[in-house]
Protein backbone atom coordinates (compact mmCIF):
# COMPACT_ATOMS: atom_id res chain seq x y z
CA UNK A 1 0.00 0.00 0.00
CA UNK A 2 1.10 3.50 -0.78
CA UNK A 3 0.19 5.49 2.29
CA UNK A 4 0.28 9.27 2.56
CA UNK A 5 0.09 11.02 5.92
CA UNK A 6 -0.46 14.79 5.83
CA UNK A 7 1.26 16.37 8.78
CA UNK A 8 0.74 19.82 10.16
CA UNK A 9 3.32 21.50 12.35
CA UNK A 10 1.70 23.16 15.36
CA UNK A 11 2.53 24.70 18.77
CA UNK A 12 2.87 22.14 21.54
CA UNK A 13 -0.35 21.73 23.55
CA UNK A 14 1.25 23.32 26.63
CA UNK A 15 2.39 26.42 24.69
CA UNK A 16 1.36 29.83 25.97
CA UNK A 17 -0.12 31.59 22.98
CA UNK A 18 0.84 35.22 22.31
CA UNK A 19 0.45 37.37 19.22
CA UNK A 20 2.83 39.94 17.75
CA UNK A 21 2.39 43.60 18.70
CA UNK A 22 0.27 44.33 15.63
CA UNK A 23 -1.95 41.33 16.42
CA UNK A 24 -1.25 40.01 12.92
CA UNK A 25 0.34 36.65 13.67
CA UNK A 26 1.39 34.17 16.32
CA UNK A 27 4.47 35.26 18.26
CA UNK A 28 6.48 32.05 18.01
CA UNK A 29 9.13 33.15 20.52
CA UNK A 30 9.72 30.32 22.95
CA UNK A 31 7.02 28.16 21.36
CA UNK A 32 7.88 24.51 20.84
CA UNK A 33 6.40 22.99 17.67
CA UNK A 34 5.23 19.39 17.35
CA UNK A 35 3.43 16.99 15.03
CA UNK A 36 -0.25 17.92 15.26
CA UNK A 37 -1.64 15.49 17.91
CA UNK A 38 -4.45 14.29 15.60
CA UNK A 39 -1.89 13.49 12.91
CA UNK A 40 0.01 11.26 15.34
CA UNK A 41 -3.00 8.93 15.44
CA UNK A 42 -3.06 8.87 11.63
CA UNK A 43 0.67 8.26 11.38
CA UNK A 44 0.46 5.36 13.84
CA UNK A 45 -2.49 3.93 11.88
CA UNK A 46 -0.33 4.10 8.74
CA UNK A 47 2.40 2.13 10.57
CA UNK A 48 -0.15 -0.53 11.56
CA UNK A 49 -1.48 -0.76 7.99
CA UNK A 50 2.03 -1.05 6.60
CA UNK A 51 2.79 -3.82 9.09
CA UNK A 52 -0.37 -5.67 8.02
CA UNK A 53 -0.38 -5.05 4.26
CA UNK A 54 3.18 -3.99 3.37
CA UNK A 55 3.95 -0.85 1.44
CA UNK A 56 5.47 2.52 2.07
CA UNK A 57 4.61 5.61 4.10
CA UNK A 58 5.16 9.14 2.85
CA UNK A 59 4.68 12.09 5.19
CA UNK A 60 3.88 15.43 3.61
CA UNK A 61 3.78 18.95 4.93
CA UNK A 62 3.03 22.24 3.22
CA UNK A 63 5.25 24.68 5.04
CA UNK A 64 8.53 26.54 5.33
CA UNK A 65 11.96 25.09 6.26
CA UNK A 66 11.10 25.42 9.98
CA UNK A 67 8.77 22.41 9.71
CA UNK A 68 11.56 19.99 8.75
CA UNK A 69 12.32 18.87 12.34
CA UNK A 70 8.66 17.85 12.59
CA UNK A 71 8.95 15.80 9.38
CA UNK A 72 12.20 14.26 10.66
CA UNK A 73 10.36 13.26 13.81
CA UNK A 74 7.72 11.51 11.68
CA UNK A 75 10.54 9.69 9.87
CA UNK A 76 12.03 8.69 13.23
CA UNK A 77 8.65 7.30 14.28
CA UNK A 78 8.68 5.10 11.18
CA UNK A 79 7.64 6.88 7.97
CA UNK A 80 9.77 5.94 4.96
CA UNK A 81 10.10 9.28 3.24
CA UNK A 82 9.12 12.89 3.71
CA UNK A 83 8.11 15.66 1.35
CA UNK A 84 7.88 19.34 2.15
CA UNK A 85 6.04 21.58 -0.28
CA UNK A 86 7.77 24.88 0.22
CA UNK A 87 5.09 27.46 1.00
CA UNK A 88 3.87 29.55 3.87
CA UNK A 89 0.35 28.22 4.36
CA UNK A 90 -2.07 31.12 4.30
CA UNK A 91 -5.38 29.32 4.36
CA UNK A 92 -6.85 25.85 4.13
CA UNK A 93 -7.85 25.99 0.47
CA UNK A 94 -4.29 26.88 -0.56
CA UNK A 95 -2.93 23.96 1.45
CA UNK A 96 -5.60 21.61 0.08
CA UNK A 97 -4.77 22.63 -3.50
CA UNK A 98 -1.05 22.05 -2.95
CA UNK A 99 -1.80 18.61 -1.52
CA UNK A 100 -4.16 17.86 -4.39
CA UNK A 101 -1.56 18.78 -7.02
CA UNK A 102 0.96 16.43 -5.45
CA UNK A 103 -1.52 13.58 -4.93
CA UNK A 104 -2.91 13.78 -8.48
CA UNK A 105 0.58 13.40 -9.88
CA UNK A 106 1.32 10.34 -7.73
CA UNK A 107 -0.40 7.13 -6.71
CA UNK A 108 -1.61 6.78 -3.17
CA UNK A 109 -4.06 4.18 -1.88
CA UNK A 110 -4.91 6.02 1.28
CA UNK A 111 -4.54 9.61 2.42
CA UNK A 112 -4.51 9.99 6.18
CA UNK A 113 -4.96 13.44 7.71
CA UNK A 114 -5.80 14.53 11.22
CA UNK A 115 -9.30 15.71 12.05
CA UNK A 116 -8.06 19.19 12.83
CA UNK A 117 -4.90 21.24 13.29
CA UNK A 118 -4.76 22.51 16.85
CA UNK A 119 -3.36 25.87 15.72
CA UNK A 120 -6.08 27.44 13.58
CA UNK A 121 -8.69 24.78 14.41
CA UNK A 122 -9.85 24.83 10.82
CA UNK A 123 -11.03 21.27 10.36
CA UNK A 124 -11.06 22.13 6.67
CA UNK A 125 -8.09 20.72 4.74
CA UNK A 126 -9.08 17.00 4.59
CA UNK A 127 -12.68 17.55 3.44
CA UNK A 128 -11.49 20.11 0.89
CA UNK A 129 -8.89 17.66 -0.34
CA UNK A 130 -11.48 14.90 -0.74
CA UNK A 131 -13.73 17.26 -2.70
CA UNK A 132 -10.91 18.53 -4.93
CA UNK A 133 -9.81 14.97 -5.73
CA UNK A 134 -13.39 13.66 -5.96
CA UNK A 135 -12.42 10.99 -3.45
CA UNK A 136 -14.51 9.76 -0.53
CA UNK A 137 -13.73 11.38 2.81
CA UNK A 138 -14.56 10.36 6.38
CA UNK A 139 -14.17 12.92 9.15
CA UNK A 140 -13.48 12.25 12.85
CA UNK A 141 -12.40 8.77 11.82
CA UNK A 142 -12.13 6.41 14.80
CA UNK A 143 -11.89 3.07 13.02
CA UNK A 144 -10.60 1.99 9.64
CA UNK A 145 -10.27 -1.45 8.09
CA UNK A 146 -8.87 -2.15 4.65
CA UNK A 147 -9.72 -5.25 2.67
CA UNK A 148 -8.06 -5.37 -0.74
CA UNK A 149 -9.22 -2.25 -2.53
CA UNK A 150 -12.17 -1.54 -0.29
CA UNK A 151 -12.38 0.25 3.03
CA UNK A 152 -14.72 0.49 5.98
CA UNK A 153 -14.32 3.70 7.92
CA UNK A 154 -16.20 4.71 11.04
CA UNK A 155 -16.56 8.38 11.89
CA UNK A 156 -18.00 10.06 14.95
CA UNK A 157 -21.27 11.85 14.38
CA UNK A 158 -23.19 13.85 16.98
CA UNK A 159 -24.11 11.39 19.71
CA UNK A 160 -22.85 8.29 17.91
CA UNK A 161 -21.03 6.73 14.99
CA UNK A 162 -21.53 6.07 11.30
CA UNK A 163 -19.70 3.44 9.29
CA UNK A 164 -19.08 4.10 5.62
CA UNK A 165 -17.88 1.66 3.05
CA UNK A 166 -16.28 2.45 -0.26
CA UNK A 167 -13.29 1.82 -2.41
CA UNK A 168 -9.77 3.17 -2.19
CA UNK A 169 -8.30 5.71 -2.50
CA UNK A 170 -9.90 7.30 0.50
CA UNK A 171 -9.19 10.43 2.57
CA UNK A 172 -9.70 10.33 6.35
CA UNK A 173 -9.46 12.90 9.10
CA UNK A 174 -8.25 10.78 12.01
CA UNK A 175 -8.39 11.11 15.76
CA UNK A 176 -7.99 9.10 18.96
CA UNK A 177 -9.69 5.75 18.43
CA UNK A 178 -8.16 5.23 14.98
CA UNK A 179 -5.44 3.78 17.15
CA UNK A 180 -5.37 3.84 20.92
CA UNK A 181 -3.41 6.38 22.92
CA UNK A 182 -1.10 3.65 24.22
CA UNK A 183 -0.21 2.64 20.65
CA UNK A 184 1.29 6.03 19.82
CA UNK A 185 5.00 5.69 19.24
CA UNK A 186 7.79 7.93 20.33
CA UNK A 187 11.02 7.94 18.34
CA UNK A 188 13.72 5.67 19.76
CA UNK A 189 17.47 6.09 19.24
CA UNK A 190 17.57 3.78 16.25
CA UNK A 191 14.64 5.57 14.68
CA UNK A 192 16.32 8.93 15.15
CA UNK A 193 19.56 7.62 13.60
CA UNK A 194 17.88 6.07 10.57
CA UNK A 195 15.66 9.13 10.07
CA UNK A 196 18.78 11.12 9.21
CA UNK A 197 19.39 9.04 6.12
CA UNK A 198 15.78 8.80 4.97
CA UNK A 199 14.84 11.06 2.03
CA UNK A 200 13.28 14.47 2.72
CA UNK A 201 12.40 16.03 -0.58
CA UNK A 202 11.52 19.71 -1.02
CA UNK A 203 9.07 20.58 -3.79
CA UNK A 204 8.19 24.03 -5.04
CA UNK A 205 4.72 25.38 -4.38
CA UNK A 206 2.34 25.90 -7.27
CA UNK A 207 -0.65 27.69 -5.73
CA UNK A 208 -0.91 31.24 -4.51
CA UNK A 209 -4.60 32.18 -4.40
CA UNK A 210 -6.06 32.57 -0.97
CA UNK A 211 -9.72 32.98 -0.12
CA UNK A 212 -9.51 34.40 3.39
CA UNK A 213 -7.38 36.98 5.20
CA UNK A 214 -6.60 37.04 8.89
CA UNK A 215 -7.20 40.63 10.01
CA UNK A 216 -6.17 40.33 13.63
CA UNK A 217 -5.68 38.01 16.58
CA UNK A 218 -6.45 38.80 20.19
CA UNK A 219 -6.43 36.76 23.37
CA UNK A 220 -9.79 36.15 25.01
CA UNK A 221 -10.60 38.29 28.02
CA UNK A 222 -9.58 36.44 31.18
CA UNK A 223 -12.07 35.48 33.87
CA UNK A 224 -12.39 37.68 36.89
CA UNK A 225 -11.52 35.79 40.05
CA UNK A 226 -13.53 32.78 41.11
CA UNK A 227 -16.31 33.10 43.67
CA UNK A 228 -15.89 30.32 46.20
CA UNK A 229 -19.10 29.18 47.86
CA UNK A 230 -19.67 26.96 50.88
CA UNK A 231 -22.98 25.37 50.10
CA UNK A 232 -24.72 23.87 47.11
CA UNK A 233 -27.81 25.98 47.87
CA UNK A 234 -25.78 29.14 47.53
CA UNK A 235 -24.35 27.79 44.26
CA UNK A 236 -27.80 27.08 42.84
CA UNK A 237 -28.93 30.55 43.91
CA UNK A 238 -25.97 32.25 42.19
CA UNK A 239 -26.26 30.16 39.04
CA UNK A 240 -29.89 31.14 38.75
CA UNK A 241 -29.90 34.77 39.83
CA UNK A 242 -26.42 36.03 39.02
CA UNK A 243 -25.07 33.94 36.16
CA UNK A 244 -28.51 33.19 34.70
CA UNK A 245 -27.02 29.84 33.73
CA UNK A 246 -29.92 27.70 34.97
Amino acid sequence: MNLLVCISHVPDTTAKINFDAAGKALDATGVQFVINPYDEFSLTKALHLKEAHGGSITVLNVGGPETEPTLRKALAIGADQAIRINATPTDAITVAKELKNHISANTYDLILCGQESIDYNGQQVPAMLGALLNLPFVNACVDLTIDGSSANATGEIDGGHATYSGSLPLVVGGKKGLVEEKDLRIPNMRGIMTARSKPLQVLEASESDTATQAIKFVKPAGKSSVKLVDSVDELVHLLHNEAKAI
Binding site: P11, T13, T14, K16, F19, Y38, I93, A96, I118, D119, N121, G122, Q123, Q124, V125, A127, M128, G130, A131, N134, P136, F137, V138, N139, A140, V142, E156, I157, D158, G159, G160, H161, A162, Y164, S165, G166, K175, G177, A211, T212, Q213, A214, I215, K216, F217, V218, K219, P220, K223, V226, K227, L228, V229, V232, L235, V236, L239, A243, A245, I246
Partner: protein, 313 residues
Amino acid sequence: MSIIVFVEDWNNQYKKASFEAVSYAKSWATEAGTTVTAVTSNGATDPSTLATFGADRILTIALNATPFGMAQQLATMAEGATGMVIAGTSLGRSIAPALAALAGGALSTNTTSVPSSVSPVVVERGAFSSKGIETIALSGGIPIVSFVPNSVGIHERAGEGTVESGEATGTDLMTITEKTIASGKVALPEAEVVVSAGRGLKGPEHWGMIEELASVLGAATACSKPVSDIGWRPHSEHVGQTGIQVNPNLYIAIGISGAIQHLAGVSASKTIVVVNTDAEAPFFKAADYGIVGDAFEVVPQLVNAMRAFKAGQ
Protein backbone atom coordinates in the same frame (compact mmCIF):
# COMPACT_ATOMS: atom_id res chain seq x y z
CA MET B 1 -28.95 36.64 -4.43
CA SER B 2 -29.99 35.14 -1.16
CA ILE B 3 -28.22 33.80 1.91
CA ILE B 4 -28.53 30.03 1.68
CA VAL B 5 -28.69 28.16 4.94
CA PHE B 6 -28.43 24.39 5.24
CA VAL B 7 -30.92 23.08 7.79
CA GLU B 8 -30.10 19.73 9.32
CA ASP B 9 -32.72 17.42 10.76
CA TRP B 10 -32.32 14.41 12.95
CA ASN B 11 -34.88 11.67 12.34
CA ASN B 12 -36.99 14.27 10.56
CA GLN B 13 -36.89 16.69 13.52
CA TYR B 14 -34.89 19.90 13.35
CA LYS B 15 -31.97 20.29 15.68
CA LYS B 16 -31.61 23.34 17.88
CA ALA B 17 -28.48 24.24 15.95
CA SER B 18 -30.61 24.37 12.79
CA PHE B 19 -32.80 27.12 14.23
CA GLU B 20 -29.65 28.92 15.25
CA ALA B 21 -28.37 28.56 11.68
CA VAL B 22 -31.52 30.16 10.26
CA SER B 23 -31.29 32.94 12.88
CA TYR B 24 -27.66 33.48 11.87
CA ALA B 25 -28.57 33.67 8.18
CA LYS B 26 -31.34 36.15 8.94
CA SER B 27 -29.11 38.61 10.76
CA TRP B 28 -26.57 38.41 7.96
CA ALA B 29 -29.27 38.79 5.28
CA THR B 30 -30.73 41.81 7.06
CA GLU B 31 -27.34 43.53 7.04
CA ALA B 32 -26.79 42.60 3.43
CA GLY B 33 -30.30 43.65 2.35
CA THR B 34 -31.26 40.25 1.02
CA THR B 35 -33.41 37.23 1.85
CA VAL B 36 -32.85 33.83 3.45
CA THR B 37 -33.32 30.57 1.57
CA ALA B 38 -33.35 27.53 3.84
CA VAL B 39 -32.45 24.21 2.21
CA THR B 40 -33.70 21.15 4.02
CA SER B 41 -34.58 17.51 3.60
CA ASN B 42 -38.01 16.76 2.17
CA GLY B 43 -38.45 14.24 4.98
CA ALA B 44 -38.39 16.86 7.73
CA THR B 45 -41.64 17.07 9.64
CA ASP B 46 -42.40 20.75 9.69
CA PRO B 47 -40.39 22.93 7.30
CA SER B 48 -42.70 25.91 7.75
CA THR B 49 -41.43 26.41 11.34
CA LEU B 50 -38.20 27.69 9.80
CA ALA B 51 -40.04 30.87 8.84
CA THR B 52 -40.34 31.82 12.51
CA PHE B 53 -36.55 32.09 12.67
CA GLY B 54 -36.25 34.15 9.51
CA ALA B 55 -36.42 31.88 6.45
CA ASP B 56 -38.15 33.67 3.56
CA ARG B 57 -38.04 30.72 1.24
CA ILE B 58 -37.84 27.09 2.32
CA LEU B 59 -36.65 24.65 -0.27
CA THR B 60 -37.12 20.97 0.47
CA ILE B 61 -35.02 18.50 -1.48
CA ALA B 62 -34.31 14.78 -1.48
CA LEU B 63 -31.08 14.97 0.49
CA ASN B 64 -28.16 12.70 -0.30
CA ALA B 65 -26.96 10.30 2.40
CA THR B 66 -23.34 11.37 2.85
CA PRO B 67 -21.78 14.75 3.65
CA PHE B 68 -20.02 14.83 0.28
CA GLY B 69 -23.24 14.19 -1.63
CA MET B 70 -24.94 16.96 0.35
CA ALA B 71 -22.03 19.33 -0.30
CA GLN B 72 -22.42 18.71 -4.03
CA GLN B 73 -26.14 19.42 -3.82
CA LEU B 74 -25.52 22.70 -2.00
CA ALA B 75 -22.77 23.64 -4.45
CA THR B 76 -25.32 23.58 -7.27
CA MET B 77 -27.13 26.44 -5.50
CA ALA B 78 -24.07 28.52 -4.73
CA GLU B 79 -23.94 30.48 -7.93
CA GLY B 80 -25.28 33.96 -7.38
CA ALA B 81 -25.83 33.41 -3.66
CA THR B 82 -24.75 36.21 -1.33
CA GLY B 83 -23.42 33.72 1.21
CA MET B 84 -23.98 30.36 2.84
CA VAL B 85 -24.45 29.28 6.47
CA ILE B 86 -24.00 25.84 8.04
CA ALA B 87 -24.13 24.95 11.73
CA GLY B 88 -20.85 23.45 12.98
CA THR B 89 -22.40 20.15 14.01
CA SER B 90 -20.42 17.07 13.08
CA LEU B 91 -22.36 16.84 9.81
CA GLY B 92 -21.88 20.54 9.13
CA ARG B 93 -18.16 20.30 9.78
CA SER B 94 -17.88 17.60 7.11
CA ILE B 95 -20.03 19.42 4.57
CA ALA B 96 -18.74 23.01 4.80
CA PRO B 97 -15.14 22.52 3.60
CA ALA B 98 -16.23 20.22 0.77
CA LEU B 99 -18.80 22.82 -0.26
CA ALA B 100 -16.19 25.57 -0.14
CA ALA B 101 -13.86 23.55 -2.35
CA LEU B 102 -16.60 22.70 -4.85
CA ALA B 103 -18.19 26.15 -4.97
CA GLY B 104 -15.03 28.23 -4.86
CA GLY B 105 -15.95 29.55 -1.46
CA ALA B 106 -14.16 31.51 1.24
CA LEU B 107 -14.82 29.59 4.43
CA SER B 108 -14.69 30.43 8.10
CA THR B 109 -15.16 27.46 10.45
CA ASN B 110 -15.34 27.58 14.25
CA THR B 111 -17.05 30.97 13.85
CA THR B 112 -18.33 32.59 17.03
CA SER B 113 -19.93 35.83 15.79
CA VAL B 114 -22.35 37.10 13.18
CA PRO B 115 -20.68 39.24 10.49
CA SER B 116 -19.50 42.62 11.77
CA SER B 117 -19.34 43.77 8.16
CA VAL B 118 -20.90 42.15 5.10
CA SER B 119 -18.77 43.43 2.24
CA PRO B 120 -16.41 41.73 2.59
CA VAL B 121 -17.81 39.45 5.26
CA VAL B 122 -15.81 39.79 8.48
CA VAL B 123 -16.38 37.42 11.41
CA GLU B 124 -14.66 36.24 14.57
CA ARG B 125 -13.58 32.66 15.05
CA GLY B 126 -11.86 30.63 17.74
CA ALA B 127 -8.22 29.72 17.08
CA PHE B 128 -5.41 28.08 19.05
CA SER B 129 -7.98 26.03 20.96
CA SER B 130 -9.72 29.02 22.51
CA LYS B 131 -6.39 30.62 23.42
CA GLY B 132 -6.96 33.16 20.62
CA ILE B 133 -9.74 34.91 18.74
CA GLU B 134 -9.16 35.54 15.06
CA THR B 135 -10.92 38.21 13.02
CA ILE B 136 -11.11 36.97 9.47
CA ALA B 137 -12.26 38.46 6.16
CA LEU B 138 -13.89 36.21 3.56
CA SER B 139 -13.14 37.85 0.26
CA GLY B 140 -11.84 35.32 -2.22
CA GLY B 141 -15.08 33.64 -3.24
CA ILE B 142 -18.61 33.12 -2.05
CA PRO B 143 -18.51 33.62 1.73
CA ILE B 144 -19.42 30.49 3.70
CA VAL B 145 -19.76 30.49 7.48
CA SER B 146 -19.82 27.45 9.73
CA PHE B 147 -20.50 28.57 13.30
CA VAL B 148 -20.02 26.92 16.69
CA PRO B 149 -23.44 25.73 17.92
CA ASN B 150 -24.72 27.73 20.88
CA SER B 151 -22.47 30.72 20.13
CA VAL B 152 -24.83 33.19 18.47
CA GLY B 153 -28.23 32.15 19.80
CA ILE B 154 -31.69 31.51 18.42
CA HIS B 155 -33.93 34.46 17.55
CA GLU B 156 -37.57 34.08 16.75
CA ARG B 157 -39.17 36.64 14.48
CA ALA B 158 -42.55 37.31 13.03
CA GLY B 159 -42.33 36.35 9.41
CA GLU B 160 -43.80 34.33 6.64
CA GLY B 161 -41.95 31.94 4.43
CA THR B 162 -42.93 29.94 1.40
CA VAL B 163 -42.26 26.21 1.31
CA GLU B 164 -41.51 24.68 -2.08
CA SER B 165 -39.94 21.45 -3.19
CA GLY B 166 -36.89 21.48 -5.40
CA GLU B 167 -34.23 19.28 -6.84
CA ALA B 168 -30.47 19.16 -6.59
CA THR B 169 -28.10 16.44 -7.65
CA GLY B 170 -25.17 15.05 -5.76
CA THR B 171 -23.23 11.79 -5.70
CA ASP B 172 -22.50 9.75 -2.61
CA LEU B 173 -19.03 8.27 -2.98
CA MET B 174 -19.55 5.85 -0.08
CA THR B 175 -22.47 3.92 1.36
CA ILE B 176 -23.46 4.07 4.99
CA THR B 177 -23.49 0.54 6.35
CA GLU B 178 -24.24 1.30 9.97
CA LYS B 179 -25.36 4.22 12.09
CA THR B 180 -25.62 4.12 15.87
CA ILE B 181 -26.82 6.94 18.06
CA ALA B 182 -27.04 6.75 21.83
CA SER B 183 -30.70 7.45 22.44
CA GLY B 184 -31.99 9.92 24.97
CA LYS B 185 -28.60 11.53 25.42
CA VAL B 186 -27.80 15.16 24.83
CA ALA B 187 -25.14 15.54 22.13
CA LEU B 188 -22.04 17.15 23.57
CA PRO B 189 -21.22 19.77 20.91
CA GLU B 190 -24.72 21.24 21.07
CA ALA B 191 -25.33 20.94 24.81
CA GLU B 192 -26.29 24.03 26.80
CA VAL B 193 -25.15 22.43 30.03
CA VAL B 194 -22.24 20.00 30.37
CA VAL B 195 -21.42 17.99 33.49
CA SER B 196 -17.85 16.76 33.27
CA ALA B 197 -15.72 14.66 35.59
CA GLY B 198 -12.08 13.68 35.87
CA ARG B 199 -9.69 11.34 37.53
CA GLY B 200 -10.74 12.71 40.92
CA LEU B 201 -13.72 10.33 40.70
CA LYS B 202 -11.40 7.35 41.26
CA GLY B 203 -13.24 4.84 39.09
CA PRO B 204 -15.97 4.30 36.49
CA GLU B 205 -18.35 2.93 39.13
CA HIS B 206 -18.74 6.46 40.51
CA TRP B 207 -20.25 7.99 37.39
CA GLY B 208 -23.81 7.26 38.48
CA MET B 209 -24.02 10.54 40.38
CA ILE B 210 -22.55 12.42 37.41
CA GLU B 211 -25.18 10.99 35.09
CA GLU B 212 -27.85 11.79 37.63
CA LEU B 213 -26.76 15.41 37.88
CA ALA B 214 -26.68 15.59 34.09
CA SER B 215 -30.15 14.18 33.78
CA VAL B 216 -31.58 16.63 36.33
CA LEU B 217 -30.02 19.50 34.37
CA GLY B 218 -30.79 18.13 30.89
CA ALA B 219 -27.04 18.18 30.38
CA ALA B 220 -24.54 16.21 28.34
CA THR B 221 -21.81 14.30 30.17
CA ALA B 222 -18.12 14.76 29.42
CA CYS B 223 -14.77 13.73 30.87
CA SER B 224 -11.08 14.58 30.93
CA LYS B 225 -8.68 12.82 28.59
CA PRO B 226 -7.09 10.35 31.04
CA VAL B 227 -10.56 9.16 32.02
CA SER B 228 -11.31 8.13 28.43
CA ASP B 229 -7.76 6.83 27.88
CA ILE B 230 -8.14 4.36 30.74
CA GLY B 231 -11.56 3.39 29.46
CA TRP B 232 -13.69 4.67 32.34
CA ARG B 233 -15.75 6.61 29.81
CA PRO B 234 -16.10 6.47 25.99
CA HIS B 235 -13.71 8.46 23.76
CA SER B 236 -16.63 10.48 22.50
CA GLU B 237 -16.91 12.19 25.91
CA HIS B 238 -13.32 13.41 25.99
CA VAL B 239 -13.27 17.20 25.93
CA GLY B 240 -10.26 19.47 25.61
CA GLN B 241 -7.69 20.57 23.11
CA THR B 242 -7.40 17.10 21.60
CA GLY B 243 -11.02 16.14 22.23
CA ILE B 244 -14.34 17.80 21.69
CA GLN B 245 -14.43 21.55 22.13
CA VAL B 246 -17.53 22.69 23.96
CA ASN B 247 -19.27 26.00 24.27
CA PRO B 248 -22.15 25.56 26.73
CA ASN B 249 -23.84 28.16 28.92
CA LEU B 250 -22.77 26.15 31.95
CA TYR B 251 -19.83 23.76 32.40
CA ILE B 252 -19.57 21.91 35.70
CA ALA B 253 -16.14 20.32 36.26
CA ILE B 254 -15.90 17.72 39.00
CA GLY B 255 -12.57 16.26 40.11
CA ILE B 256 -10.70 17.73 37.13
CA SER B 257 -7.43 19.54 37.81
CA GLY B 258 -7.74 22.06 34.97
CA ALA B 259 -4.62 21.30 32.91
CA ILE B 260 -4.00 23.74 30.07
CA GLN B 261 -5.03 21.12 27.48
CA HIS B 262 -8.34 20.56 29.24
CA LEU B 263 -9.05 24.27 29.59
CA ALA B 264 -8.33 24.79 25.89
CA GLY B 265 -11.47 22.85 25.02
CA VAL B 266 -13.83 24.24 27.64
CA SER B 267 -12.82 27.81 28.42
CA ALA B 268 -15.30 29.23 25.90
CA SER B 269 -18.11 28.09 28.24
CA LYS B 270 -20.07 31.06 29.50
CA THR B 271 -20.17 30.00 33.16
CA ILE B 272 -17.77 27.51 34.73
CA VAL B 273 -18.29 25.75 38.08
CA VAL B 274 -15.47 23.73 39.63
CA VAL B 275 -15.73 21.16 42.41
CA ASN B 276 -12.32 19.99 43.65
CA THR B 277 -10.83 18.94 46.99
CA ASP B 278 -7.66 20.89 46.25
CA ALA B 279 -8.06 24.64 46.67
CA GLU B 280 -4.87 25.08 44.63
CA ALA B 281 -6.21 23.18 41.59
CA PRO B 282 -5.50 25.33 38.50
CA PHE B 283 -9.12 25.00 37.34
CA PHE B 284 -10.26 27.47 40.02
CA LYS B 285 -8.37 30.21 38.15
CA ALA B 286 -10.54 29.62 35.10
CA ALA B 287 -13.80 29.23 37.01
CA ASP B 288 -16.66 31.59 37.85
CA TYR B 289 -17.86 29.63 40.87
CA GLY B 290 -16.09 27.01 42.93
CA ILE B 291 -16.68 24.63 45.78
CA VAL B 292 -13.59 23.33 47.56
CA GLY B 293 -14.84 19.96 48.64
CA ASP B 294 -15.09 16.24 48.09
CA ALA B 295 -17.08 15.27 45.02
CA PHE B 296 -18.52 12.27 46.85
CA GLU B 297 -20.19 14.64 49.32
CA VAL B 298 -20.86 17.67 47.12
CA VAL B 299 -22.31 16.01 44.01
CA PRO B 300 -25.15 14.12 45.75
CA GLN B 301 -26.06 17.34 47.58
CA LEU B 302 -25.95 19.24 44.32
CA VAL B 303 -28.22 16.68 42.67
CA ASN B 304 -30.78 17.22 45.43
CA ALA B 305 -30.48 21.00 45.37
CA MET B 306 -30.83 21.13 41.58
CA ARG B 307 -33.76 18.74 41.65
CA ALA B 308 -35.50 20.93 44.21
CA PHE B 309 -34.73 24.03 42.16
CA LYS B 310 -36.08 22.46 38.95
CA ALA B 311 -39.20 21.27 40.74
CA GLY B 312 -39.85 24.83 41.92
CA GLN B 313 -39.52 26.30 38.43
